[in-house]
Symmetry: C2
Amino acid sequence: MAQAPIRFGIMGCAEIARKVSRAITLAPNATLAAVASRSAEKAEKFASANNFPLNAKIYGSYESLLDDPDIDAVYVPLPTSLHLKWAVLAAQKKKHVLLEKPVALNVAEFDKIVEACEANGVQLMDGTMWIHHPRTAKMREFVNDVERFGSLKSVHACFSFAAADDFLKNDIRVKPDLDAHGALGDAGWYGIRAILWAADYEMPKAVTALREPVLNDAGVILSCGASLCWEDGKVATFYCSFLSNLTTDITAIGTKGTLHLHDFIIPFKENEATFRTSTKVGFNELVTGWIPLPSEHIVTTDLPQEARMVMEFAGLVGNIKANGARPEKKWPTISRKTQLILDAVKASIKKGFEPIGIAN
Amino acid sequence: MAQAPIRFGIMGCAEIARKVSRAITLAPNATLAAVASRSAEKAEKFASANNFPLNAKIYGSYESLLDDPDIDAVYVPLPTSLHLKWAVLAAQKKKHVLLEKPVALNVAEFDKIVEACEANGVQLMDGTMWIHHPRTAKMREFVNDVERFGSLKSVHACFSFAAADDFLKNDIRVKPDLDAHGALGDAGWYGIRAILWAADYEMPKAVTALREPVLNDAGVILSCGASLCWEDGKVATFYCSFLSNLTTDITAIGTKGTLHLHDFIIPFKENEATFRTSTKVGFNELVTGWIPLPSEHIVTTDLPQEARMVMEFAGLVGNIKANGARPEKKWPTISRKTQLILDAVKASIKKGFEPIGIAN
């Protein structure tokens, strides 16, 4: 008999929760079971606007959702400053935790979340969706291919978007007491993750923030960048910003190959995504053209990346529930690495752009 | 009556001189009049292999070419360390100078070349070809468009190629006494120029080399990067390398638009070139796709970019010859700016990656 779908509770009615609620609906092994907000009315509205099943429960507090024994897992899109409290409490209530990024205010906080999840045998995964797109698996094949890509030498990643005036004044992502990391947490998180992904999660030896980050009056980062370097000589840079046109790029260059894509976070289209590669390219003899030309690869997907994320997470939860499996450590491990680099960028800015060593 | 074509002398038989000789042949206002090498035999061979007219002169020394009154202009592809001597002597002999990049060992040397050219009323231009492609003019329209691009916030540029073992051992570009700038001069020159181009040649306030450049045993740069920042908060990074797969990118991000291209130095194909732009793009309401999608622009050209460079240069020379016009200062000015940033990157590496202020 097929396993019963994993029952999700949504903790908070953030914008992004709409997309993840749809993803839970789309994922074959997951179902929307409840939504909680600090106001039951708001939760009710959210449920009806987002196609929750009629039997889904509506809660006027996060605690009451966590006390519901018919909830297997929670999705936590709350402001970063609330992650520690609610993710730990969720774990203690034996709920598996799908946690929005950035995962915590710093690695020390995140470690407490990991500890709580481990102690209670629940799965922890962050909400970085693009990692779950089948395109990403295809790109991984390319980047890991000794013949087509060789060894990684350099990565550049970028995520910027032009936030509206209202966002720059009122969004939680520009408030020091809510999402204190600003553009670094919201946008830079993706650039850092892209770099780590390209490096197959090998940690750099040092991280140096680039000069002239832009901060708002409250000291929250609106735009910044950093460079990373590894023991073996590879290097990376990223740029993140709330102040410029939407751009989401990865360029990874190996000894033999290059990977390019311009829509790594959200593919241009939902059902198919492309990336471009070249291998051992050179100029022709008179240096008037390239041989061979780069190739474009198209990857189609039946389910959008966020539904695949939910499916992956629910699959792990199902395996724990049905077979007493141990939670998969891969996911909190890459969340932690991403957070560690994020912390280092902030530390480097604070220390006047000195390099911050990363312990191994 | 149409003006007689400008008569070019080629000083040295470098690989790149083959391409520029062809460009001179293609340009309607230029002609190959002579070639000089330290060996007349080598010059003779070069002339016959590169379709020189039968009446072209063959010289066994650079001096004798410079003494020929029937030569209007010289193309100088000699190693960087020889530019000062030969460009100055060419100017003194009233020859207009098309000078390969990097233009000099440092700005002080380049200033002597500029001085000699000004004193003798001859045109000076460096050999950066992509600036002359009609695509570049189209991209300039986009980047200068307040509605489509807004104001520039960030640029990333990259030029890397995987040099063969023989190049890494024997090429003049890895020899401290010949092309002492290594990958920074050969490849980084383009990244710096791309950044300056995107910034409409406004100089940054500071340049900071990125950590962990790769040097060879003789101390010549094989791979490095830098970050630049401007008074108004815009930032840029570039990466250059002899050690990774051929990659030539510009990403310029404005408040309202983004420009992408992956073949800025040499277009993938000779007769048409593309670039991609987006303006005021955003995610759709559920954040599952982009609105609108980026656009691809195709620019065709009857003459390759290097022939357009020659045509531009020969046009200026013709105007000086026929009408007593003053040499166009724009070209040496942007060469100097590029060299100044290049010098700053080297200085920053030398000073342990401290930022180097750029005087305005």
